[in-house]
């Protein structure tokens, strides 16, 4: 079985490397490597899932890479129920996206390169998920970040794509500082980086303190948890480190679906769940997680209301939904969070891929103001998009209804500081979600056809290789909630792989209290939102513009994305650049370059020139130098 576990990521890696060898080829053959590789990963993941359900788990090292002092650098795998679910979801969505890509990237000169990247992404994501220690987690974490960077800048001749990829990279680097600090704190306190001993000794972390600022001792557990959460904020696009995700839509649509909606961005959420024994040690960290998640869920939903680019709307909705998941982590409803992660992976990938199909149909136009009426021309895309939209809004009986409502209800029951705010934020968020989702749906698929005549004449349904993955993804978007909610969230599926402290088990409580009027509130809000969207964008089409004009500053704040970009680009980056310039001129050029680097280099070069002179070329000089050596050594031993 151990070999099998190892085979899962390696199959994807082989696919990626194989596709990598075809990069130089002009023929579109990259998928011949990548798809079998990922397919093998997917099938084996299913085998592992079945095996795990039968009660077999694994935790151990498969390869020791090296040892430094007492620190063993091991490639270790942890296979339990949480891992198995994630593996299945990741490989399933990845496989669907791979197939879709054949059609979507057809004709692109970077076809083969694209396959090498996304298969490689699958490998890194699997390593991240399957890790049994922080080091392998970090390896996967950085690996997916790297591939994400490469893919956002995939069309590297576009300036905006390069800027976006750079932004994603820099913001994630910011998060990595936190991540590495967290790792450092854990290693410094416990002397190990493997999950098992860290979890077993999490109590020690809570009781030992670290003075981050002199004179202010702080529990290591809180420090590490919060530092790691900073990393998760960057990866999972939480306020204020979410700014890279909307821009990442510069990349091709399949990767928006795979990386920036379904899988990679959930890495932060996954990490929080994986490290639940650590987070349960720190109420402060949980509270922070909760508030940040709630803020993200609400605020970025609002921003989505005013976007015109269809992919950006979905991107903001992704951030908002990630906020829901993070809230679930904060209120210790880990199972609910992971469940939402799972359903979200399905319906958000579906939405992106369907949007991509629509974008392709209208000659790669992403602005919804130039779409409309596509429902008649593209029935499959339309229906699958609608399923995705309903699931996203949380309409019964679609998947999102079950997963999202569970989180909201759990928030209502939680006693962690900030839970009240989180409850209301997520509740209002439901209504907003419904409005922007159906605004997008109506603008794209109904109403007048606003594209130019040329494009309109060529409107047609996409090829089967594109529509089939949509259908395949629509099935779980429709059914996953209905069938899986009870066993996964309330049935104790995750067992020991998630840890919830005594007295915080809101999901356990919820299982008994299921009911009451509060249960129907989110659904009602969602329906109201859908109705509002229909009224605004189908019945009274003039109203949105007038509303925008009337709301004035609020509207412009939303258009300006609540000023976060400004904050980063204008102030932080500006200040950073200023500081950098000062350090560069003063510190680097004069001190380090002038004195240390070039100074040393100059001195070494001078010494080199002098020493080189000894090599005269005369044999007797050489022999003489040898004799001097003999003389010196013999004298040494004589005197010793």
């Amino acid at each position: 079985m151990e070999t099998l576990y190892l085979l899962i990521p390696l199959a994807s890696l082989v696919g990626a490397l194989g596709a990598g060898t075809t990069v130089a080829s002009v023929r579109e053959i990259g998928h011949r490597w990548a798809i079998p590789g990922v397919a093998v990963s997917f099938l084996l993941s299913l085998v592992v899932l079945a095996d795990v359900l039968a009660g077999h788990t694994f935790n151990g090292a498969v390869y020791t890479w090296g040892a430094i002092g007492g620190l063993e650098l091991e490639v270790g795998l942890l296979i339990d129920r949480l891992t198995a679910v994630m593996m299945a979801v990741v490989t399933f969505v990845s496989l669907a996206v791979h197939v879709y890509t054949i059609g979507y990237m057809h004709g692109d000169p970077g076809y083969n390169r694209f396959f090498a990247y996304i298969a490689g992404f699958t490998f890194f994501m699997l390593m991240l998920v399957m890790a049994n220690n922080f080091l392998v987690l970090f390896f996967g974490w950085e690996g997916v970040g790297l591939v994400s960077y490469l893919l956002i800048g995939f069309w590297y001749t576009r300036e905006s794509a390069i800027a976006a990829s750079l932004k994603a990279f820099l913001v994630n680097r910011l998060g990595d500082i936190g991540f590495v600090l967290g790792l450092g704190a854990i290693y410094a306190t416990l002397g190990t980086l493997a999950y098992e001993p860290v979890f077993a000794r999490a109590g020690e972390l809570a009781s030992s303190t670290i003075a981050v600022l002199p004179g202010m001792p702080w529990s290591v557990a809180s420090f590490a948890a919060i530092a790691l959460f900073v990393g998760a904020m960057a990866k999972s696009a939480q306020i204020p480190l979410h700014v890279w995700l909307p821009d990442s839509m510069e990349g091709p649509t399949p990767i928006s679906a795979l990386i920036h909606a379904a899988t990679m961005v959930t890495a932060g959420v996954f990490m929080l769940a994986r490290l639940s024994p650590l987070y349960e040690q720190s109420l402060a960290a949980l509270s922070l997680v909760l508030v940040v998640g709630a803020l993200t869920a609400l605020a970025l939903g609002l921003v989505a209301l005013v976007q015109h680019d269809i992919k950006r709307v979905i991107a903001y909705s992704t951030i908002s939904q990630l906020g829901y998941m993070v809230v679930a982590m904060g209120i210790s409803a880990y199972a609910a969070g992971i469940f939402h992660l799972m359903t979200h992976a399905f319906f958000k990938a579906l939405l992106f891929l369907a949007a991509g199909s629509a974008i392709h149909a209208v000659a790669d136009e992403q602005d919804m103001r130039r779409m409309g009426g596509l429902a008649r021309h593209m029935p499959v895309t339309h229906w699958t998009f609608l399923i995705g939209a309903l699931a996203l809004c949380g309409i019964w009986p679609f998947a999102g209804y079950y997963s999202k409502d569970t989180i909201i209800e759990a928030a209502a029951l939680s006693a962690i500081p900030g839970a009240g705010f989180a409850y209301w934020a997520t509740l209002i968020g439901v209504g907003i979600t419904a409005v922007y989702t159906f605004r997008m749906y109506f603008l794209t698929f109904h109403g007048p056809e606003r594209m130019d005549a040329e494009t309109r004449a060529h409107l047609h349904e996409s090829a089967r290789v594109i529509t089939w993955p949509l259908v395949v993804l629509a099935v779980p978007s429709l059914l996953a909630g209905f069938f899986l909610l009870e066993p996964v969230v309330f049935g104790g599926y995750f067992g020991s792989s998630l840890f919830v402290a005594e007295g915080r088990d809101v999901l356990g409580e919820l299982a008994h209290h299921h009911g009451g009027w509060g249960q129907y509130l989110p659904l009602a809000l969602a329906l109201a939102g859908v109705g509002l969207a229909y009224y605004l964008y189908m019945v009274r089409r003039d109203l949105p513009a007038r509303l925008a004009a009337a709301s004035g500053p609020a509207y412009s704040a939303l258009v300006a994305k609540l000023g976060f970009d400004r904050l980063f680009e204008g102030w932080l980056a500006g200040a950073g650049r200023g500081l950098g310039r000062a350090l560069w001129r003063g510190g680097d050029e004069h001190l380090i370059d002038g004195l240390a680097v070039n100074g040393t280099a100059g001195r070494v070069a001078a010494a080199a020139a002098r020493l080189r002179g000894i090599q005269s070329g005369y044999v007797y000089h050489y022999a003489f130098s040898m004799l001097i050596g003999v003389f010196a050594l013999v004298s040494w031993f004589f005197l010793a």
Binding site: T64, V604, A608, M626, L633, V634
Partner: protein, 480 residues
Amino acid sequence: MTFGTPEMLAVLPELVVMGMALGLLVLDLYLRPDQRGITFALAVATLAVAAVLAAVLVPGEARTLLNGQFLHDRLGAVLKVFLLGGTALALIYGRRPLQRLAMYRGELFILMLLASAGMMLMASAGTLLMAYLGLELMSLSLYTMIAMDRDSIPATEGAVKYFLLGSLASGILLYGLSLVFGASGSLALDEIAAHAARAGVSDPLLVLGGVFVAIGLAFKLGAVPFHMWIPDVYHGSPSPVTVVLASTSKLAAFALLMRLLVGGLGPMAEQWQVIAGALAVLSLVVGNVVAIAQTAIKRMLAYSAIAHVGFLLIGLASAPTSGYMAPVLYMLLYTLMGAAAFGIVSMLDRDEAPARTIDDFAGLSRTHPWTAFLMLILMFALAGVPPTGGFMAKLYVFQAAVEADLVWLAVFGVLMAVIGAFYYLRVVKAMYFDPPERTLGPVGDRVAQGAVSVNALAVLGLGILPGPLVELSLFAVAGI
């Protein structure tokens, strides 16, 4: 006395190489000049077969055979596999260049086989006599091979210098050996070790002998101040011979060192540890610093070889306390790196535009992207940049030094490695950032290209997955 089959079986790799050398000597007479490929192929095949035999016949525990002359143990077997493999690689890389130099002759292949036989005997020497005979067999063959490039003045000069200084070093070594013999009354290494354990430092004859032996070995390894021959000889030698000089003859010298200093004078480790430490410091400084001033690629690599001996000596200086795994690992990896780096240099060495200076590599990434990539790996590996094998080798050596309480030596080594990175990166810069100035022709034949690719990628792979080589090194030194 009788020689049983098991005894002969253990010496089989040596017998195969020697026998084939004699056989080829006769066979080559009957071949026309255009059939030289047969001799070539048979020589390579002989080395490969012997390597396989050495690997198959690896013994469970060490035994001395043939009246104690021959030591059959794991270390010897592992080293032999690398010695033979490295020499075979050198031959494969050298096919084209040798043809161009008019050195593609039967005599060269025979000498190559005899040199290999000498190296193998050094790795398996059970007595001082065998150690010395193996060394001379190898050295004489090497001198001749260098001189075979008769029309080249640098080659002739290099051969004469190597011969003269090598003879001087051999004399010093022999003097040391005779003192050791005189002190212990035996030629057998195990008996010498027993005597050394008994008498130890109190026997000045043994100490003095040990010092002279160490000096002789330092010359063969090329440690400062016994290094002066290295740049001139590496530079002057025909490139295919330089490959052997830089990789396998170094490994053979290391094997001899393991036999004489560790096997014979092991109980006097405290004495030669000091020598190793002092020579390590000198070699690191001179090798790394002077390499910076070099413009010729082979000279630069020659100084880099001196610097690498410095790192190796750090490992040896710490080995008595922290184990011999680190130096063995370092040497095995260096053999691979040296063979590939010099191999590429020799293959680029072509008629129209011989690659002699670093500037000749300018723009290689555009004309020969794959070769440039391989060279990039090798330069990084030599500099010790992760994730290449060179990094692992250095890491283990420094770790060994720290374990042996020689932290200052480790720190010094790291500093020198930083300086060293500079000149390796100069090659990389030339290959990737400078515009091509001269057009170099195709690189070697297909077989050679494939072999050098495997060789260089192995260097990279052993950095990513160092496990197998670490295991192998531990296996080799298990008996010590």
